[in-house]
Subunit: 197 residues, 2 copies
């Protein structure tokens, strides 16, 4: 079965849109997805940015909000930029890695994004992440504790380094057979590439 | 008739792709186009960049080339990044403004882009621009002389200031009824918006 790696950062608005629509598209295309949360922060830092480009470049930031509103309206998704933007995506990413190992990673990824960009909550707050985990019927205390284990911390670091090695510089990014596609706009093309091999 | 403003910079790879496909799409949509060359340089400079972001951020630059190769292959367009990248687009923009006033602006815009991104020529070289103008059957000496007139210089400055005022931060950009769309990817959406009014 052809496969596609889906690299996403929980602070990324366009990753939210991709995360909400990728699963049915991949299923229809017969492409197996690997959900791979990673951190853009260290990659941005390496190129001299200490925050989101949407904050560094206000005209681009204003446009991004309007563009996401339009994209989400077309898709029937809510969109609300949280006051805390970009949110710290560290804890959410670690919890997602725990959940991916336990089989509920896709669900928690979508639920985190919904809390953040549909409800405008601050996913950098551990209480918000705990709420999200509990609402899915999982043990929040156990998941958050495992998220702080050395193994999970090392895994997130390794995933972020792998993203950088693959040439990733933004999110969402998709990789099939070494070919990189950047942006929610490129999802269909990436699935098509993965399918044709 | 609904209208769409098409803002393009001759140094911009994605503006090339948009310029090569916009006319038949606009005609089919029943949307009148206003071709508006402008300079990204002063806008980039205002946000602290002294060259293209594709040079400032090499991972992004490498990806852009691969992405343009793929997009152009799908559209049956040649793509070749010139050695001089980003080219100085000052003279080409002024000549395009002259030609737009004289009714051959679309043709020269496409021809400049073809010389640059299909043939890899340096459009910052006045000889290359003169060649392009001559190949279209126009008087190159007269066009280049008019391009250096105070009126044309002032017009390009005004267009660039207008782009900035409209919130434009990249190219290509499309504006319909005050609504901004950025990127070759958004061309269809912009035309659709213009059409629905």
């Amino acid at each position: 079965m052809p496969a596609l790696d889906f690299f996403y950062d929980f602070a990324s608005t366009y990753s939210y849109i991709a995360a909400m629509r990728i699963a049915p598209l991949a299923e229809r295309a017969g492409v197996a997805l690997r959900w791979r949360p990673f951190l853009l922060g260290p990659i941005f830092k390496a190129q001299g940015w200490d925050t989101s480009p949407f904050n560094l470049y206000p005209a681009k930031g204003r446009y991004m909000v309007r563009d996401c509103e339009r994209q989400c309206a077309d898709l029937g998704l809510a969109f609300r930029l949280p006051e805390a933007f970009p949110a710290s995506s560290l804890l959410a990413s670690r919890v997602a890695l725990v959940a991916l190992e336990e089989g509920w990673g896709e669900d928690v990824s979508r639920a985190v994004y919904r809390a953040e960009f549909a409800e405008g909550r601050n996913i950098g707050d551990p209480e918000v992440i705990a709420d999200v985990v509990r609402a899915l019927g999982h043990d929040a205390k156990a998941a958050l504790a495992r998220a702080q284990s050395d193994g999970i911390k090392a895994k997130l670091r390794a995933e972020t380094e792998e993203a950088q090695r693959l040439g990733i510089f933004g999110a969402p990014s998709f990789v099939a057979a070494g070919e990189l596609f950047w942006g929610n706009d490129r999802l269909e093309q990436a699935l098509d590439f993965a399918k044709r091999g």
